[in-house]
């Protein structure tokens, strides 16, 4: 099949969404399909710009493709008579982020009008897709809640699971992720001042901005946890990352309202349990409290308690790690399934 993957682009940034589209292309090709990736830069600087781009997407004409797989707003508006949606997320600023510090539209009459127009576009154009899948329960629930549109959850697998192995249960909690405010590495750092055992913390990832890094480093200093916390603040290879996973005690993944999060999946593949938070969103697709990790309240003391608990009870750590690994099989997070669904 000739398949066109359409997505919006944030030029010069490589994150989870870029990883997902690349993985999808590679796997579809492995399964014998011809694939081309269309990535269109998307700007949300003003409400008018967003409306312009919705119209632009509607006016694009695709010929010579048997199927279109769309991933994100507003690329999923591109018309095609054999379109399948694998939704990463909608334009969250006019949904769950409306009225929060993350929403940039003015909360006045014109802002609200644009918000309603965008929501209306979703209401009428999303159902054009022959099939609607969502990458996680959060994404699927939002679509149901705000647009009353049903979707099926289809969790994205890892691209190279063989890279992720178990080596040992070491003495450190590992937190790999881009360093920024919403990933809340600072919460993990603050937790370290309440730990009583010999547990350590390793954070790796490139900072989104210089400020993000300075803030995190200051927090380490202020809380006096420099001995127990190590930060590797530059990009590391997949191989290095896999090694840190393989030798850690467990992982911490504490983002605010994440859509999905590959950290959980990578940790599980290495038989490591994951500590996440009640408001972390998509991590709850995989993490089950007390079975393959912990879901705790977003405060440092509660997090510290779980860090200590895992350090002092290696038997529990091992049991939960094994359960974590089995979760991938139980939930059938496999490319065979994904390709099958997206090409049927």
């Amino acid at each position: 099949m000739k398949i066109l993957i359409v997505n919006n682009a944030s030029p010069f940034i490589y994150g989870g969404a870029e990883f997902l589209e690349d993985s999808l292309q590679k796997k579809l090709e492995e399964y014998g399909h011809s694939v081309q990736l269309i990535k269109i830069p998307f700007s949300w600087s003003t409400p008018e710009a967003v409306l312009d781009q919705i119209l632009a997407m509607r006016l694009i004409k695709i010929e010579n493709a048997d199927r279109v797989i769309a991933l994100k707003f507003p690329a999923y508006f591109i018309p095609h008579n054999n379109k399948v949606l694998w939704l990463i997320h909608q334009f969250r600023q006019v949904y769950d982020l409306w009225g929060t510090e993350y929403g940039s539209f003015p909360d006045d009459k014109s802002g609200k009008t644009t918000r309603d127009q965008i929501r209306h576009a979703d209401d009428i154009y999303i159902p054009e897709s022959k099939k609607i899948y969502a990458i996680s329960k959060v994404t699927s629930d939002r679509l149901k809640k705000y647009n009353n549109i049903q979707s099926e959850i289809l969790n994205p697998p890892l691209i190279d699971e063989r890279l992720y192995r178990f080596q040992s249960y070491g003495d450190y909690i590992y937190y790999p992720s881009r360093i920024n405010n919403s990933k809340r590495q600072w919460l993990a750092v603050e937790a370290m001042q309440y730990t009583k055992s010999g547990v350590k913390l390793l954070i790796t990832g490139s900072p989104d901005t210089k400020d993000d890094l300075i803030k995190l480093r200051k927090s380490v200093e202020k809380k006096g946890v420099g001995e127990k916390v190590q930060i590797i603040d530059h990009y590391i290879s997949q191989k290095e990352k896999a090694k840190y996973y393989s030798e850690c005690l467990a992982c911490a993944y504490l983002p605010y309202d994440e859509d999905y999060g590959y950290v959980t999946l990578e940790a599980f593949q290495c038989r490591k349990s994951v500590i996440t938070l009640t408001d972390s969103g998509g991590t709850h697709d995989l993490v089950e409290n007390g079975k393959n990790g912990y879901i705790v309240n977003p405060n440092p003391e509660d997090i510290a308690q779980k860090f200590d608990h895992l350090f002092e009870n290696k038997l529990v750590t091992r049991e939960m790690g094994n359960a974590a690994f089995n979760t991938i099989e139980e939930k059938q997070i496999r490319w065979a399934k994904v390709i099958n669904k997206l090409t049927e």
Partner: protein, 347 residues
């Protein structure tokens, strides 16, 4: 510098325009810039064009990248405060092919309005660009003629120029190109009827269709040229191609009215081989100078045969002109150094 390269594509069909975008992107990265390609599907059926043109115009690239480089038509409709264009061709059925069998719009009021819409949009968006480069003199002339837009020629270099070499000056003329009518492989075969020396001819390329293959085969057989002409009717690998060039006497490139000088010319020069082309071949004469790095002859078999013989009999001349070809690459500033310098120029 952070650079976005935009080009239009018809999905799953590779064209020259896209190669240029890919190569430019690879080279910008090599030179230490950050670069990304944005490929935009565009369906060139005339009735569908205005809507899609509006789509391009409605995109918002302005906050991304220090520069936008637009390649294939009409990607340059995208707005950007630092827009540069590498113009490789118009939507030709409404421009230079108007009035030929390739014209797409009907000569009705409606058809001509569609055409005018495309020309107006081109004029406006080309004019607002900070810099317009073209890939050949032919193209710059067309831009001036149809759009009154001044442009500077920046020749596209080969991507892997280091892989070309010269092994010897052998006994055959090599013509590597897609097999099709307008590349005129038939003309070169006919020339072989008139050669007096032992010069041979090797033609290689992917055929556009089966008709062209039987036509060329018939030409060879009927003129009893099977001992003199080798016809390879498939796509040859890069390694095969550079070896054929390296061991040839010289190359032939005799298309009818090409837009650009053609990669064949460049590949040949890079391998220190002279090029035989025709006066009506179009872009090739921008870089081929008669008697210096090759021959420009009338498109008649007898004349072509004459220069084939001349090169075969006088291999010192073949070498001298081949070396001249190599030097022309430099004197025409055909290099990535030049391309990168032009496209990353501060404004």
């Amino acid at each position: 510098m952070k650079i976005i390269i935009a080009s239009t594509i018809i999905p799953f069909i590779d064209g020259g325009g896209l190669f240029i975008a890919d190569w430019l992107c690879a080279k910008l990265l090599e030179y230490g810039h950050q670069a990304e390609i944005c490929r935009l599907p565009f369906c060139p059926y005339w009735r569908d064009m205005p809507e899609q043109m509006l789509a391009l115009r409605l995109l918002h690239f302005e906050e991304y990248g220090d520069r936008l480089i637009c390649v294939r038509t009409p990607s340059y409709l995208i707005k950007h405060p630092s827009k540069f264009i590498w113009f490789i061709h118009h939507h030709r059925p409404m421009y230079d092919l108007m009035g030929s069998q390739y014209q797409d719009v009907p000569n009705t009021k409606e058809g001509l309005e569609y055409r005018q819409c495309v020309i107006d949009a081109d004029n406006k968006s080309l004019f607002e660009a900070k810099k317009v480069y073209s890939n050949s003199k032919v193209m710059s002339e067309r831009l001036m003629k149809f759009n009154k837009i001044k442009s500077e020629v920046v020749y596209p270099p080969l991507i892997n120029e280091g892989s070309y070499y010269c092994d010897k000056y052998g006994d055959y003329i090599f013509y590597p190109s897609r097999l099709c009518q307008h590349k005129r492989q038939q003309l070169v075969i006919q020339a072989m009827k008139y050669t007096k020396s032992n010069v041979k001819l090797v033609i290689a390329g992917n055929p556009d269709n089966t008709t062209i293959v039987s036509l060329l085969e018939k030409e060879i057989e009927e003129n009893d040229l099977t001992n003199k002409v080798t016809l390879i009717t498939r796509w040859i690998t890069h390694e095969e191609k550079i070896k054929y060039i390296a061991e040839s006497l010289a190359c032939a490139y005799t298309p009818l009215d090409e837009d650009s000088y053609g990669y064949v010319t460049l590949e040949s020069f890079q391998s220190h081989k002279a090029v035989i082309t025709c006066a009506d071949s179009g872009g090739t004469i921008e870089i081929v100078t008669h008697g210096k790095n090759g021959y420009i002859v009338d498109s008649r078999p007898q004349e072509i045969a004459e220069v084939f013989d001349e090169l075969f009999i006088n291999k010192t001349k073949a070498k001298r002109m081949g070396d001249g070809g190599f030097d022309s690459i430099k004197s025409h500033h055909v290099s990535w150094d030049n391309v990168i310098k032009k496209f990353t120029m501060k404004i």
